[in-house]
Symmetry: D2
Subunit: 295 residues, 4 copies
């Protein structure tokens, strides 16, 4: 398959590379061209513009930072939709606002393009290993058509509804992850303040109904005060903003969502933007008047 | 081993029965005697008073509703400590306030008794199957001595620190469980309000960093609007009060803990006390102006 | 002074009428023309388009529902700025986003127009009585120039900073009002649940450091279960959204702001949009399992 | 009138002194005797024990730190009730738990003593000036009997219900004060972050529905970074604990109450216990990543 891949960042480059390895003909484009050169070394091609990248593509994948980037890339005279052969499959794998996903896919549809929103979770490691979770919104036909691509990139691939549904699930994912980190942070500070031994406590907590992927995969790093990212506070804060706006627009009551958004915002505002999101633990610890965990 | 078992309720009776099955000589006492008769049918003995139950016991286990019950059972002229042969092992498996656990075990210690706090999670099913998680606070010697008993009752048995530490971990467990249920409730209402298909969404969410035992074990019941307990709102509210007081006493900042305590309290105050704690979903749904999930 | 007044709604019409009474030459425009006819009866003139209204105005006042209305009215080929004589004083008295106020006034400035943002509080009654509080952002020169107009419309007129500052203060006002209503609601339900006599309690509370305009002006209506607006939940929810976005953009930690925004959102989502904002009392009462106050 | 005054602290001593000045025969008792000596200088008498102070009193007033102190002073073999002539009027003016007020007054009633709970607000200055607000719970007869005393001590004297009602209103007062301080703190940081001029902003905010005693009396001190008490964080935190427990016991949903309790607790835990409660502003400022206000 001839695939154009727009956005070769920390996530995009290994994803594009996996598509090359799987035998696809991949043309990449990135604003800063060093990343595109790296793709060429790995067997792909580099384009010097979006238009050049997509011109004869059967599928176009975008992996971009935020909603305005996605909107700008697809819509407009030099955008993907203006430059791609009608009928090519468009797949946006960025994490953006569900309403923007719907807006762009409606635009695409009017122009004769099937489009999917397919954000991922699993981080850089998941991207490298082809083991991402992929949450897909859009028409079933388009989803089936994209299967071959998704199978290369991810291990859990789920079609969750119409256009925008992928982004909605991603937003819910980010709520659950941030909220669970905060709960675990409050629990760890509580346990430590009462002189409980933390490693056995985590073990027994994780064995029951309190168990979570955060306890399994993140708590030991938290105990060791390792707050190198991982997933940065800055990005998680952006994603919680997406959740909050989408929840508010639908009238959804989300008091824990609102509270953790404030806390993540404070962590960002106090200089923690480049830390791993588990640094919420440092904040709880400081606000409890202790200095056990430090940045 | 000669074991006195005080408190033969929903949890206590199957636990005592498992000890009988394992070959221990178990004498039970319960305020209402019907439960004690049931233990006799299963091969145990029944006593007509606490004093009679404990008189020649090598170990005494209590499984009682709340902190004042535990304090009253151990301390006082007709209490366990006054009636038991010095040196017998005392094990309180109730879920109570950590400070009361410390107070009672200090009293026991002054009177020459080793004592453990060993609350459990896993519910009635875990009690019946001998598959409880047991969080144990107290001296290592006493813990080793109690091993044989714990091995009959539970599958995850962890020594988490000094006296009170078991109860502290139980309190943290109840925070994490309530908080995660509320987060999942907010996420489900959010997803449903945006017309996402919930079953595939849960599947993909549970596959990544948002995954939790609540999503694995409870979300499908929540989707089916099944709010029969399980673990009752009433009891979870009591436990969150224990957490809150212990957190506050230690100066621990716990904004999500405080928020979910208010929400569980409201669910209780509005008549939901006998529902499963996952009925927090109904509350979020109602407060979002929808009537998808009903009590 | 020749004044064009755009937006003759519940607030705009009495404001324009007061300017007529004060001897100004007022030409009004409203999307639905019935309101403009009413202004003519009161001695003003009616225009059939924005362009016609502003063509020879020395000052233009806008009083419009929301940020997009304001942006659309000022900017564009048929907008106020394109149609007004260069140098006329522009005054937006709507309650809108501070960032939009800054955007529009920057645009105006580039085109050679001084512009003020001057939102008000005091409601329909304040508008009718010429007793509004007016919070003004923009250049001091423009503020001095607008004095004669503001003196007709309001009784408290304060210049609070550069462009956007008026809207920022209005947003803070809406936070304080909503937050204080919610606090008073929680206090009243608490007092009533403990069988305290509410009228004397309000009297003594209002006499000390707990005193507030909400207790002085709104609490007796709340006791009487009078939730006819006044200021509608729907509008207050919009304004809290403005606050929240502006707070978040500046990295301001606002946990009470976030919490009351969720509660106001829930009141809206459950059908309370047309009630007075003091209906937060009904919500607290219901969530406390009582039915003392009803909608 | 012969009055025994138990507890001659920062509040109690000036209150007792005002009663002396008004012509009453006042015998004081304080744990540390220096304060009692000061009362003698002012024309009162000093007793060396509670029993000696109350033996021939017609009225007994207590002004003590916390609930256990009050319980211990009234109940027991050497307590006030055991030592006072039957029928003397008992008035507790401490700020304590409503349930303890009810417990002690019930005990008093069974022993033949009328008793009032009559906590105050207005601080040291209000005590010195005889200008306290006094919130009184108990029987109307006892209230009328105590009028002559209250008129000396306070300027706003309100009978709010049966025993405990005075303490309940005081708890609500402390909720409203803490909550309003926090709202004003969030608003000030928000305004400052957007470069609004704070003094005019406070003026216009205080003129409308956002107005409050906190804005009138405290905001200028907050602007000047003056956090010398005033009313200490430590004491306000104690009082919020009383509110929270009483609200929770009655099933009252109080999300803002819970949130501000956590924040005040954090201010205490991070070393702010001796600051004025308006230091919540410093906390909001720090958590917003600014260092405009410092302790």
């Amino acid at each position: 398959m001839r695939i154009a891949f727009i956005g070769l960042g920390v996530m995009g480059l290994p994803m594009a590379a996996n598509l090359v390895k799987a035998g696809h003909e991949v043309t990449g484009f990135n604003r800063s061209s060093a990343k595109a050169s790296r793709l060429v070394e790995l067997g792909g091609r580099a384009a010097s513009s979006v238009a050049e990248a997509v011109v004869d593509a059967e599928a176009v994948i975008t992996m971009l930072p935020d909603s305005p980037d996605v909107r700008a890339s697809y819509i407009g005279d030099e955008g993907i939709i203006a430059s791609t052969a009608r009928g090519a499959l468009l797949i946006d794998m960025s994490s953006i606002r569900p309403d923007v996903a719907i807006e762009v896919s409606s635009y695409a549809s009017r122009k004769g393009f099937p489009m999917l929103d397919a954000p991922v979770s699993g981080g850089q490691k998941g991207a490298e290993d082809g083991a991402l979770s992929i949450m897909v919104g859009g028409e079933s036909d388009a989803f089936e058509q994209a299967r071959a691509i998704f199978d290369v990139l991810g291990s859990t691939i789920v079609h969750v509804g119409q256009s925008g549904a992928g982004q909605t699930v991603k937003a819910a994912n980010q709520l659950l992850v941030a909220g669970t980190i905060e709960l675990v942070a409050e629990a760890l500070v509580f346990l430590d303040a009462h002189s409980v031994e933390l490693e056995p406590a985590i073990k027994v907590l994780n064995g029951g109904l309190a168990g979570s992927a955060i306890l399994s995969r993140k708590a030991s790093g938290m105990l060791e005060k390792n707050f190198a990212p991982g997933f940065r506070v800055e990005l998680h804060h952006k994603d919680l903003g997406i959740y909050r706006d989408a929840a508010s627009a639908a009238g959804v009551f989300s008091p824990l969502g609102a509270a953790v958004t404030e806390l993540m915002g404070s962590l960002l505002a106090t200089g923690g933007g480049q830390l791993d999101h588990t640094a919420l633990l440092v904040q709880v610890d400081e606000l409890s008047g202790r200095r056990i965990w430090t940045r």
